[in-house]
Symmetry: C2
Subunit: 708 residues, 2 copies
């Protein structure tokens, strides 16, 4: 190994210590008033119970899948296996790598959420003392999750790489570890779907019965579903998005290593293969420093503090990228490709902000449109969502073309694709920091809910209310980031897929010919998959919300004392019902994207004149394109609806005569409908599509032996 | 020419006589009471004025485009022009063919709508006498439009084929007439967009001010926008869909002839080239007989009568297909491919019916979802719409694969693609009949509106009310049909594109390689185009509706006597404002799909290592896939919302205690929101996407010399 490689274990160790430091910092904080602690404990218990049940189901599905995929891939592998490990060698390695990916994803989800759920009540308590302390707790609590996920991904990929012979046969090992990525995306899909269905079913259910039917405020303690709603923010936003980005980083590392192996075959320089691991390590350092720099000033806009830290991470990442490329690859063009990726990550954050922030035209117009009712609000939001396909595409398209051109300009054989790989690495360098900002969202949202339920004073409420609003913004931004990185990672994995087919076929596989009918149909099915998956995810939320509505109605009806504050509702039962509905709902949409590529590849392989590998390749690429657009639509329309409502609630909307149209006006009611419609789109179907995109890549990469 | 060819001019002549007969039949009917006549005249004037202005704008754009495209294509054509007509020969032929297509499309739109707008008041009047007569007038009025469009398309393609040397060099002429298809789709796009924006802006505007703000019923004469609303049904549904299907049939004929020319190069049998024209002629006969069979019985469900006629057309089409293939191509496999297309057209009608009819589960569930408010109604409709991507894809995918396989099995060189061409011809054989059913929609809708405004008696109202409901169903079904035929036509045109590139390059062009970055980006841009186009179309409706709302509000405010029936509102002004807004709104989305392929192709052509022809090919295919899904979503979600509202209005929704939840309940209000949201999706953006799909094909076919 080149000397610089040793930086990877060293930085991993430092990061683990850093995570422990952050966790201890947060856990040492007090849990506030007994009321706060009580609410916090209920949320913790609900979240923990759901995660336990969810991961038990996922574990069962994962073990079955590991065995089935391992056996099938092993049996169908021909005589030419990577590194001549033989059919049995492929079999157990695929299964083990899959399980390792699944377990690592599970651990990062669990541990990250543990700290997040412990942070919320401490953030609520800190708000009693100071603005700055509340931000610190929320940001550091979120950082535990962000750093843990990224570090575990790096440790996992590195470990399995060496376990499967990376030291001796570095050009073979990347081909053997693809199961790790599939395992990670498999878990991520169910984690995101289950969490997403849970959170939005609880949210819709609580709002529809509480606000609409009973006429009580949001987060009111009389609503039986209120705890389920707060739990949902953790299991959906925190655990779900964590699994999503764990998978992005793992899959990106593996994909880049496979492309590196192709360059290695020519240059015989192992640096090309381990380069992604080193870059990721530098990203961790950049994010760590960025985070330590965040020092919010009293009364300062919290977003400004987060932005400062973000820019420090970005600049340090750029420096780290240039240094790593110079030392390891010695090629300025590839460094430039890396900077393109970093630039893309900044661009998408600003674009997302433009479309979803109350400061800009789209959300202001949408608030205006609410004045003529729900219909114009909904139509306006759909328009905004569709429109965002354009800038999202522009960022991805330009980044890919430019990075590819830089890769080609580098003069290294086959490095066009490697250029896009370096760009993807650049994009994902700041992943720990972005994830910390993301988890800031559910923590502050919960802190605000706890303060509402615990009846905290107005000064304290004001702080958590403000932080909650910032959290909404950071959550929306992270979705844009996660989407574009999923798109880039999928393109990278597609290149890796081409390499994998070539490698296993022993002849260059260079064309996916859209003019062949099976290839066109592969593309057609891919976009259909995106639509059907979205439909099922949304319908699962609707079905689950219906169950919650019935339960809350039942409690109000059977126990009239709840409304008069004389009795407490049965929160636990509502949490339990939501959990069951979430778990049941995730199965159908979750299994779909696993079955379809398998059926398509195996099916076309049965007909001799069709080339199944091409059809599957088209499914990958066209599915990625369709998934990106659809997710952009859902995430951004949802974000715009959410903030149009906030804009009105903040009293910023005025009618023609200048009269403020705030809460409880006709316009507000219309905006609430839009917000509710956007919820399952932006928090269930949209983020699940990020994972779907990557799952399509990793599953086909693993299943290559079945259809070559 | 083979003897059977002469059937084409003969049938065209017979059809023209048939159209004259139908038109005279309808025009000979009386126009009812003076009140009815007055309203009918206002609608006629509004529609006529709009169409005049719209087509003046379109004509201007078309002439500019004809000149620019002709000159550019001519200049950039190399030495190898089809038939050695030279650069100037290409130049004027492209321009002339474009204008011929544009003019033929314009004439069919004008003449068809003229009769439709004359039929509505006659249908209203006929309802005073009998059920059966009203159906007859509506169906025959619609048939004028349907037959005229299809016949003009057939005459136009045949005439230009022979004008450009089809008799002497039949293998060259198809390559020269591609401009005809482009001209037709160019006009269709603006016709559909302008009409679609007009109709839904008027509808939304009228409803939001009338029903929501002023609390007066739909089609109430006090609403200044009510005439604009009735005009809209004609210019959107009637003229728009007519232009859409004119284009489908023209483009399908040309595409199939190009593929036939490839087979001709091997077999030297001209039957392969003129076969599409003969099949179309047989389709006209089948539809004519089907229409003459439609004899509604008194009090019978009008849909049953329409269905009888439809099945007669379908069976006769199948017979005609088998006969034509036997005589001209002598190959049973290709006849089977044709039957696959006919089967696909039946399948999509039943699928559309399942998702949008009140008799089936999806709409019933959607009505149930309305009980918890607008948000659940909207989310439910989005779910249904997304889900319909699956059956739509299944129909298209299976039809393509099976027809392609049959084509291959025929043993004719290169006839795999020709198999899909025959299937597309089979699908479009019943086009005149389906179009007649479609135009039945706006005629009966208008007849009902006229009766409402003219204060007709309850017995008369009952008849037109019932016919109006049937018209809603036929309109929804036609959209499914138009979409699938657009998808098949686009696939066919894609094959023709491949042939055209091969023909002009002089070497086989056989692969669109998705693994090339420019090809992937071409696909990415294509789906982006679908989303952005949809966004702009929807936003144009919103902007135009806003203008109408302001105008109606102004009239109510400045003239309080309108509300008390003492004064008439200024309908003409509202019509004028809607027309302006519609025309302004159509430009931006209309120009987009013309500019993007041009920019993409020319742009990538500038970079030597990119293959622009492949990037454009990917744009075509992936854009078609994305467009099909998006249009299926919009059309079906819109149809489901529309009918969920009707289901509630018909008193079919009950709450848990069995109490009917009809008009003016909470559930109804929620369903009205869904219906309003669905309007611009299903009547503006969705149908415009059909045209967009085909425009992408025809424009690239014409522009091939620019990027080879």
């Amino acid at each position: 190994m080149p000397g610089i490689f040793w930086i990877v274990p060293v930085i991993c160790l430092v990061t683990v210590l850093f995570i422990i430091y952050l966790a201890r910092y947060v856990l040492a904080k007090d849990t506030g008033t007994p009321k706060m602690k009580e609410v916090g404990d209920m949320i913790f218990e609900g979240a923990w119970a759901f995660l336990n049940r969810q991961y038990r189901t996922i574990a069962m599905l994962a073990v079955i899948t590991a065995v089935v995929v391992g056996v099938v891939v092993g049996l169908l592998s021909g005589d030419t296996t990577p590194g001549n490990v033989g059919q049995f060698g492929i079999m157990w390695r695929t299964g083990v790598a899959f399980l390792a990916g699944a377990i690592a994803s599970g651990i990062s989800g669990f541990a990250g959420m543990y700290i997040a759920v412990k942070s919320n009540v401490r953030c609520a308590a800190a708000a009693q003392r100071s603005w700055r302390e509340a931000i610190d707790v929320a940001m550091r609590g979120g950082a535990v999750s962000g750093f843990l996920i990224t570090t575990l991904s790096l440790i996992g990929v590195t470990a399995i790489f060496f376990a499967f012979g990376g030291a001796d046969t570095p050009e073979i090992a990347p081909h053997l570890i693809v199961g790790f990525g599939f395992g990670a995306s498999f878990v991520a899909l169910f984690a995101q779907l289950g969490g997403g269905i849970y959170t939005k079913a609880a949210d819709m259910g609580a709002d529809l019965v509480g606000k609409v039917e009973a006429g009580i405020p949001e987060d009111d303690a009389r609503n039986a579903a209120v705890i389920a709603d707060l739990v949902g923010d953790n299991v959906g936003d925190c655990a779900g998005r964590g699994a999503d980005l764990f998978e992005s980083t793992a899959a990106e590392n593996i994909g880049a290593m496979i492309l590196g192996a192709t360059v290695y075959a020519i240059t015989q320089d192992v640096a090309w293969i381990i380069f992604p691991l080193v870059v990721r390590a530098f990203g961790l350092v950049a994010s760590m420093i960025g985070l330590l720099i965040v020092k919010a000033k009293e009364e300062e806009d919290p977003m400004a503090a987060l932005n400062r830290g973000y820019w420090v991470s970005i600049i340090l990442s750029a420096v780290g990228m240039v240094i790593t490329v110079s030392i390891m690859l010695g090629n300025a063009w590839l460094a430039a490709a890396g900077l393109v990726g970093i630039g893309a990550s900044v661009a998408i954050l600003y674009i997302t902000q433009y479309y979803t922030d109350t400061k800009y035209k789209p959300v202001k117009d949408l608030a205006q449109a609410s004045r003529t009712g729900s219909a114009t609000n909904i139509v306006g939001g759909i328009g905004i969502g569709f429109e965002t396909a354009f800038p999202t595409t522009a960022v991805i398209g330009i980044a890919l073309l430019v990075a590819y051109a830089f890769g080609k300009a580098s003069g290294v054989e086959g490095a066009g694709a490697f250029g896009t790989a370096v760009a993807t690495m650049g994009m994902l360098m700041t992943c720990p920091y972005v994830l910390a900002m993301d988890t800031f969202g559910p923590i502050t949202d919960n802190a605000n809910g706890i303060n509402e339920m615990a009846g905290a004073g107005p000064q304290v409420r004001k702080i958590t209310d403000r932080l909650d609003a910032v959290g909404n913004t950071t959550k929306a931004l992270t979705k844009g980031y996660a989407l574009v990185s999923a798109g880039l990672a999928a393109f990278l994995l597609f290149q890796a897929y081409m390499d994998q087919v070539s490698f296993l076929r022993g002849t260059p596989f260079e064309a996916i010919n859209l003019a062949r009918p099976e290839v066109f149909v592969g593309g057609l099915i891919a976009v259909m998959l995106v639509f059907l998956f979205s439909a099922w995810a949304i319908q699962a939320v609707g079905a689950a919300a219906q169950k919650i509505i019935e339960e809350v109605r039942r409690q109000f009806r059977e126990n009239p004392k709840i409304m008069t504050w004389e009795a407490k509702p049965d929160y636990a039962r509502a949490v339990d019902i939501t959990a069951r509905a979430g778990l049941r709902g995730m199965i159908k949409p979750g299994v779909l994207p696993v079955i379809v590529p398998l059926a398509l590849g195996v099916g076309f392989n049965l007909i001799p004149e069709y080339d199944a590998a091409q059809a599957v390749g088209a499914m990958l690429m066209v599915g990625t394109i369709g998934g990106i657009m659809m997710a952009a639509f859902m995430n951004n329309a949802g974000g715009a609806w959410d903030n149009a409502k906030k804009y009105i609630e903040d009293g910023q909307l005025k009618d023609d005569k200048g009269v403020v149209q705030g809460k409880r006006t006709f316009a507000h009611a219309a905006a609430v409908v839009g917000d509710t419609v956007g919820d399952p789109l932006k928090d269930t179907a949209g983020p699940s599509l990020h994972v779907l995109i990557k799952l399509l890549s990793t599953i086909t990469l693993v299943l290559v032996p079945l259809f070559i």
